[in-house]
Symmetry: C2
Subunit: 428 residues, 2 copies
């Protein structure tokens, strides 16, 4: 019999338990497909006594994940603890240093330390695989790195935080405000320990940094991402965008521009009838555009025990089959630094202003936009409620820098109440 | 410098020319990603004099693709001629016999001869790759074989013939009949030389046979597929299905049942608001359901120079990177024979009858269904036009065999005019 592939699993939360279940349930199937048995040899987690609903008695137990990583009876170190530093980083480094391949679901770790870790892996002749780190069960890393390797990638976009999409689509369908839905998510356990990772867009931005690196052959550059969360999206914007044929999504976009690499994670409007616009609830979607393939759309569950464990096992099966590839699709030492685009490519924008009930107010707004060079595609003024009236504007394509000049003037004029809302309309 | 991967390309139609363009345009990018140069050494096509819009003067020319396949200066034989027998089969066999790996876009060849060719390849230590054979640019073969290898696959479904989907969605949106759109497709060059391959469902069924083999570890079994084309879909059905919240798609479905492997390629109703229901025009979509991953949806262009060449190049890049895998995801000798399910899993059905204007006619129809054991979920009778009235029925879940008993009785009763229409409603 061919030698088994021996796994050490650090982290026995939802995903770790999911991996244990698959390895056990599909032992025969996995061997038929990969040509060799896949075995869990040892595990590590904080609390050995906790009942996780699976029998762990056949596995060696390490309280220290670094000790697990260093064991000489494992071939692959499966890191499912999370966190960009601490035990996750230390144990991945230890695994590589002692000759193990690494499979991880840790987007934060790779977004921040991916370059260094990829270099360490390659120097040691090992690989790091991370399908589970991006968009849960969707095989997007594989599709981008391997399936679409013949393309010059033009743009990668995605809705990659299920909690944010759940909140935004429930705002739309139930008419509930952001705060009520945030509380609901907290109670349902949909939020990270630090909720700002979700609603602040950071978790999704970690994922975008990894996709951008593969797509453009650049070092992962999390700090180069413009990040804006969904905390300030109001029901008014949800409904008024809908009236104009758009949905609001927390959308990550990475693309090359003449001024450098544009990486944004921010609420955007997308057409209601596009695949992204139609995406409801906690589902994720990644859109990849290449010069040959045109546009590919991948959709699936972005989190949860089964889907994330499926992605981990995809990587494990690759290693069992001897399929080995550079972390970000080409040797880490050949990845180049990306220059962040100071201002993104021009796009249409959605603006919402509260106009004060004064003669000539609308003319003043139109003049400010015109003077800044922002041209108006569509405008709607609604009836005055109390002393302000909502005005919605869809601009023609403009740069954010140009728009910011206009926004600054709108803020300081005497006809606009409160802060103007400006959201990019992504053409998909 | 690492040794180049040397290609011989047989077939210089749309796809072949697309591959030549990518290899030339992205020489540097491909080398960065795969670690070695990718070179075209020799080509073969019927007419050497024809202007294909690309410079072919740097390549050796073989008039006989078998001679090309046997050349000792190529590593990979890229078969882009098509056809299930003849030169395609002979040259692929010759390539494998003389130690070349094979990349092909030929769904017919593999659906019919895939088992024998996979066995030949494995005996010779070579691989056959065929991402381009299924759903054009969508990396579905890779996703299913590798990315989702940790799953027991429950069902694979797809809209995999762009021409059929174009006709069906234009019927819906333009109110044009099947015959008018068939003519339009003929003029636009959207049809195969034998149009029955498209509208008869055969081309899409070839693709389904390949997906089913990978999904279920079975030998490709094209003859085990129940095939029905779209030729008999009427505008009435399109519109009346729409009224009830459904779209009609030529849908391929493969799933394991207690009675064997169900493989169907037939017009089905799917909910209008599902991803499959929303799929417009020539775009393809494949839905994969696994026990761990739940449901993954992949969408993209199903044909055309760029998308198909992108898929070919994905396979070529894998070979350049040393990523090698069994043709159908596990050794060909381990694939088992599939027993075709005589009757598929129960499903709801859509029925359309033309009811004659007689007292008690509707009661008679209801009684026939009831006696056969088919229970009615929803029924609509429209007003009589001339001497018949359309009756639409959505049944509860029933087997096709049970339904066929009822249909036979409906045909022979004296209250139904013409042939009853029965279309399966696929739950997605």
């Amino acid at each position: 019999m061919t030698q088994a592939l021996r796994l050490g699993i650090a982290g026995l939360g939802t995903v770790g338990v999911g991996v244990v279940k698959i390895v056990r349930r599909h032992a025969e199937l996995l061997q038929a497909r990969t040509g060799r048995p896949i075995e869990i040899v040892a595990v590590s987690a904080r609390d050995a006594a906790k009942d996780r609903g699976v029998n762990l008695s056949g596995f060696a137990w390490e309280t220290d994940p670094v000790a697990l990583a260093k064991r000489d009876d494992i071939d692959v170190f499966v890191e499912l603890m999370g966190g960009e530093n601490g035990p996750a980083k230390a144990s991945v480094e230890a695994a590589l240093a002692t000759g193990k391949d690494v499979v991880t679901a840790n987007k934060a770790l790779l977004a921040i330390h991916g370059q260094a870790l990829a270099e360490q892996a390659e120097a040691a002749g090992r690989v790091i695989r991370f399908e589970a780190a991006v968009a849960g069960g969707i095989p997007v890393i594989k599709s981008l790195t391997e399936g679409l390797a013949g393309n010059d990638i033009k743009r990668v976009m995605g809705v990659m935080n299920g909690t944010c999409n759940y909140i935004l689509t429930r705002m739309q369908s139930q008419g509930l405000g952001y705060n009520a839905l945030f509380e609901e998510c907290a109670q349902l356990g949909y939020l990270e320990a630090d909720p700002n990772l979700d609603v602040g867009g950071i978790d999704a931005a970690h994922k975008l940094a990894l996709l951008a690196s593969i797509a453009f052959g650049t070092k992962p550059n999390f700090d180069g991402i413009e990040i804006e969360g969904i905390q300030h999206i109001s029901l008014d914007d949800i409904h008024q965008a809908d009236d104009m044929g758009y949905r609001i999504k927390l959308l990550g976009v990475a693309q090359r521009t003449p001024r450098g690499l544009e990486q944004r994670m921010q609420p955007c409007l997308v057409p209601s009838d596009s695949p992204l616009g139609q995406l409801e609830g906690g589902t994720n979607m990644v859109v990849i555009e290449g010069d040959a393939v045109e546009q590919i759309v991948l959709r699936g569950p972005g989190a949860g025990e089964g889907p994330t464990a499926s992605a981990v096992m995809g990587d494990v099966c690759d290693l069992a089959r001897g399929l080995r590839i550079s972390t970000f699709g080409q040797p880490a030492t050949s990845l180049v630094d990306s220059k962040p685009a100071i201002t993104g490519l021009p796009a249409p924008y959605y603006l919402r202003l509260e106009l004060l009930d004064k003669p000539g107010a609308l003319a003043k707004v139109a003049a400010i936009l015109g003077n800044a060079g922002v041209s108006i595609d569509r405008m709607r003024q609604y009836a005055h409620a109390e002393d302000t009236a909502p005005v919605l504007i869809v601009t023609h394509k403009t740069t954010r820098a140009t728009l910011d000049v206009a926004l600054e003037d709108l803020r300081t004029t005497d006809v606009v109440a409160g802060e103007p809302v400006a959201l990019r309309i992504e053409q998909v």
